[in-house]
């Protein structure tokens, strides 16, 4: 795995908001088909780093390599075009429309023939494909014609994950997918993450929850004060080691790659 080419690699990413420097030269690496956890204390720059990689906030400077080639990711569309999808922390669902409409938002399937040319939607097809995607990930939605507003937090998370997984061809970013969920629903999301890995997609999991990370992650990258300070394997370290890397109590300093 060490010799494998990274799928996505960020080098020396700098991003400031006004006078606040959120990322001070951060590195980050994702390998194909792995679950990598991005951890760090509040304010370490996790969400900012993710937003630079998925095109919500373009970086001020630094380099992003995708499958070894330099790429420009300045909009979410550019990220999507190379196979990157995001499950945002706020989920980015439109609550008044139904799950299938959210799944296909911006990518609607039109009816065949002249009606499609006039802009008519093929609602049945979109509903069927959405239900397939939900079943595949084990997301239980009894009434796929009801607005998302009627659904539970776990169901909404499931819809957002299904959407990202359906459209991603390489990597899915998940920003704190379990933060707002109860015990059972969190279990469901972890099961969903494992299923996505089985499909061969890479997952970047941003989380605070170390037991959760130790359960599903293949690797951990630790961010502190806007830069990467450690790259760990859950099999080699304890949770205490991760905490000390996050807080700076110990330095694994592994900068400038292996």
């Amino acid at each position: 795995m060490v010799s494998e080419q990274p799928l996505l690699e960020a080098r020396n990413i700098v991003k400031s908001f006004g006078r606040v420097q959120a990322l001070t030269g951060a590195n980050f690496t994702v390998y194909p088909g792995e679950v990598v956890a991005l951890v760090g204390d509040n304010g370490a720059g996790k969400s900012t780093l993710v937003k630079t990689l998925v095109g919500v906030h373009p970086a001020d400077s630094g380099e992003i390599l995708f499958e070894g080639e330099p790429v420009t990711i300045h909009t979410p569309q550019q990220a999507r075009a190379i196979g990157i999808e995001t499950v945002y922390q706020d989920l980015a669902l439109a609550a008044e429309i139904d799950p299938a409409a959210n799944m296909f938002l911006g990518r609607e399937i039109m009816r065949a023939g002249p009606l499609g040319k006039l802009g008519f939607l093929d609602k049945a097809e979109m509903r069927k494909r959405s239900e397939d995607a939900f079943n595949h990930l084990g997301v239980r939605i009894q009434d796929t014609t009801a607005p998302v507003a009627n659904m539970s937090g776990g169901q909404r998370q499931g819809i957002a994950i299904s959407r990202a997984v359906t459209w991603a061809s390489k990597v899915v970013f998940m920003d704190e997918p379990t933060a707002a969920l109860g015990v059972v629903q969190t279990r469901n999301v972890l099961e969903q993450i494992k299923k996505v890995r089985e499909q061969g997609l890479a997952i970047v999991l941003i989380s605070h929850n170390l037991p959760e990370i130790f359960e599903v992650a293949d690797r951990i990258e630790v961010l502190r004060l806007g830069e990467r300070v450690a790259r760990l394997r859950p099999s080699d370290v304890s949770m205490e080691d991760v905490v000390s890397a996050m807080t700076g109590a110990s330095s694994f300093h592994e900068e400038d790659d292996r």
Binding site: I97, Q142, D143, N188
Partner: protein
Amino acid sequence: MSEPTAPAEERPPSTLQRIASGSSTQIGLILVALIVVFSLLSFESFFAIANARNIATDAAVLLVLAVGATYIIITAGIDLSVGAVLVFSGVVAAKAMNGLGGESLGVILVGLVVSLAAGLAWGLFNGFLVAKAKIPAFIVTLGSLGMALGGAYLITGGVDEREVPFKLVANFGIGRVAGIPYLVLVALAVAIVLGVVLAQTRFGRYTYAIGSNEEAVRRSGVNVDRHLIKVYALAGLLSGLAGFMNLARFGTTTIGGHATDNLNAIAAVVIGGTSLFGGIGTVLGTVFGVFIPAVLQNGFVIVGVQAFWQQVAVGGVLIAAVYLDQLRRSRQRQ
């Protein structure tokens, strides 16, 4: 693969339950109830064809405005300028037809095109300022209300344009097919076409989605600004059409007669179950919402209640409609 984790209350509602809870159905039932009550009280006069025709013609122009307002309110916007744009469009259309002179169909068609173009231009103006300059729709359309109405006064010197081609009034304005006035047919056609567009097309889907979560729609790659401009342009175009229908009906520009059209249109939309917070609404509900005030007005006259009570009753219905919408939302957001 594991036991069901969803609690029982997440079971889907039956189709019947869903229909019963749909607000456009509720408001339709209220409309039917009103019609039944008034016809029981005075069957002959309420159901007389002339009366039904009156109600429908009164409602036709307002319905065209209200269909545009439905789209705008579903995007969580507002358009206060519709009445003023109606007047402006009618004025420039009347000026154009009188400038050409004569009674030919060609002249009347020029009038129609001018009226539609004027309305469309105001709609684009509103949409551009709302979507690109990010000025609140309330302020933008309040401004364009003043500008369009002031413009109409400037063009006419403050005096209504009383001359329009006679054929326009005689044929289109009071003409009818199979007993149904042309104006009503035009309004119904507008409602049906735009009702289907809203419910079945991508244009309608984006309208709902933007009103529901604009940021989510942006992140999904949809050009939100362009869609908003189109929605305001559509409302402007419909105001232009309404301006032409108004000319045909009255044969004069009625500059002073549309000060509350905007509020009547918004009231009809909201009574019809469209949410002022965006994301929810139907054109069918708006059709019901337009006819409730019209039926109340006529019904009160016929049964001998002072017609002023209609305004009181419509005000009450409006407040109740918004209250019900808020109740529904707070139930959902628990």
